[in-house]
Amino acid sequence: MNKQQTKTWRPSMASRMVIAGVALATVGGTSVVRADDTAPPGRSIGYAFYAIEWGITQTKDTKEECPQGVAEQLGPREQYKIQFPEDGTKRKFVDTQMLREADTWFPKAEKDQFQFRQAAGKTAFGLDLDGKVKPTDFTSPEGKPGVDNQLFRVIGCIYNYRVGGSLQNFDQIYQKKMGINRLIIELTDVDSLVNDDDVTLTTYRGRDPLVTDATGNSFQPGGTQRIDTRWGKDFIHSSKGKIVNGVLMTQPMDFNNPHEVAYQDAAYDWMRDARFEVKLTPDGAQGVIGGYADIEAFHRSRNRTWSTHHLSYGQQSSGSVYRELLKAADGFPDPKTGQNTAISAAYTVKLVQVRILRPQKEIADMNAKPATKQFADSSTAK
């Protein structure tokens, strides 16, 4: 880690924390950015995500953030044993497994019958989303107060999301491996990669594999990415931002994070009012994206891509997590019920520089054609 990065990120707490996803590993070597020669060619630069994880503080012994333990969290298997003890009772499929699956897909909102272990502590990744410092807020690893990340409270002590957990492990493998998850950003109107008060960030899905070294695990800058304007329309969002001392900060925007983790899945998480705060170099970027995770999208995406079988590996009960999400939700209240529909959250992210190829033909097609075509249109039959 070079001196500049150490200074910028003030990782004084790093010695006692294992920081998931933000180890500040260099991307293709270290870079010291100078203000006078940092404008990218054509005033634009692209980056592709190679790591994106929910921001979870993780100490080695877990006691700071999970004083009630991680192994003690009750997943589907553990809850089933409590709910239906092996006492000789003859049970029915409908009254047991089906009952639990019903709660997975249509969870009841009332109080959970099982104890849930929330995360605690004072430190969490994320951003100050509401400009306030509240009792429920955290302090960032760099010491910034007012961090809004209530999702950390809900999932911080679930093994699935922690380093080594089943979901965390496969999510990161497939994030790199599967083209459907290829998320990229493009910064335009960039006059300086160090200080520029007006840049534009656009998210896309890319269509190409990441370039790696021979190990396949180290991502190399300079690869190309064709932006996907045909199948990836749902991932195109844009926002204004500024770069201050090499850190990009954007205004709120929608952010859709695709995550296929099994065969032919197609889910994504929807973060509302998402803001980037990432350190830029010519060959990579890393930092956090803070915003409000839509609760229904979060819940459904997990269920769809990570079945009860898979959830049980990581001791994650879908129904219990949903009820905790509702309790901890702190954004986007439903105008009718007042129930918050989103929860403050943060991703820790790492990106590698890519050269973006803009397929003019696809853009022209996108503008010219509707996305659907109808059967039995005899006027177009040949």
Binding site: K90, K92, L99, D234, Y263, R304, S312, S378
Partner: protein, 455 residues
Amino acid sequence: MRLLRNVLNVSVLAFLTTAGVSAYAAGQTKEDYIRTPLPPGIQVVVTELEGPVFADAKGHTFYKWPKKNLRNGDAGDVQGKSFCEDKVQRENGGLMSPYPGGLELPEVDTRPSCAAVWPPVIAAADAKPIDKWTLLDLPDGRKQWKYDEWALYTSVLDKKPGDTLGGSVMADSGEVGSLRVPVGPEANVPSQFKVATTMFGRLVELRDGWSVYTYEGDSRNKSNCSGACLDGWTPVLAADYARPVGEWTTFERSPGVRQWAFRGTPIYRHVDDSKTGSLDGGDEPRWHNVYTQRTPEPPQGFVMKETMVGLVLGDPQGKTIYQYRCTDDALDQLACDHPDSPQVYRFTVCGGGDPDRCVKVFPYVLAPAGARTGNSIWSARYIDPKTGKWAAADKPGALHVWTYRARPVYTFAGFNGYGDKKPSDINAMDWGEFNGQRNGYRAMVYRDIYSSRDE
């Protein structure tokens, strides 16, 4: 008359049609297959979806049941042996991890045996093995036909020749249960090629799975792709000793160099294809994938939509169409995905057990009165939404709905604001147990731009 376009350009439109009769029924080309010796009373039927299959004298399709690991155990046959017994399974097998076995199955008092749902293909008492056809001795003294050592069955769902309602090779991937799949003769293609069942039709591929294409600019048995054209397209060359096979011929594209042609049209590979089974080359103007036969079109008015996974079928309003898939958790893995089977599985994942909520969350796709398609894959029937069972047309509350392979299809209106709202939405793509593959909903994906079937 309903027309199928000669070529398929899925980036523009999957099928072009006029109202009326299916081109398939009107004599669309059917797939050629390798003729091999058949036992008396057994025939080959060329089906609309699966291509040529073996069938009994009445036309009932034959199926096999290959063993599959279901994470918490196996289910299915091994070659040379049948595990489909005439015995009613009353308890679940615990295959649906993480939950245990030994639980009483739904509607157990009326649950049929495996053999009742999948009758064995019984051979005559004096039947003799021939070619790949051999005999399996059953406990009751009868003999069951095997093909390539797989015990053969018919499906009680199949009613007429050409039906393949018991199972499809297309469904047999990922986390699905242990499914039955049709058994048929090999396609009559040169050894360099094979044929795969896809939603658009029987797709010709190279033996290693790469798609092949034809070019409108070519002439019969003559390639006009040269120079810069060859940067994007590689002629599929024939070996020196290659001989014509069925509808496949060779022609000399340059002195001493022979190229394959199918039905007289030169065959190429697309150099930019990035996965096996790709349809990407068909996006290029005048280039097309190759099919031995096309699948009949969806009902009139249905649409093909561009989504995050590829081309997906939509209803006339543009909403994504979903199929429901289900195999129960018993060792005999009976299907629970059609209205004749217990509906409690579906009600669990579509409404938390509440049939009324099911109809709101996953509405049936309604069919106009008198709707007909002219093919056996898509049809309209009446259903009782309260029970999920077939209904008489005059039953109060009955809905006239579209069905695919005799199962209703659905859209996803959603729950708590999470549903399909815009045409590209496929938010119930994998809704249900095991990514929607063992008890749940899957979008009808016609072109998957990311997954290879061979994965």
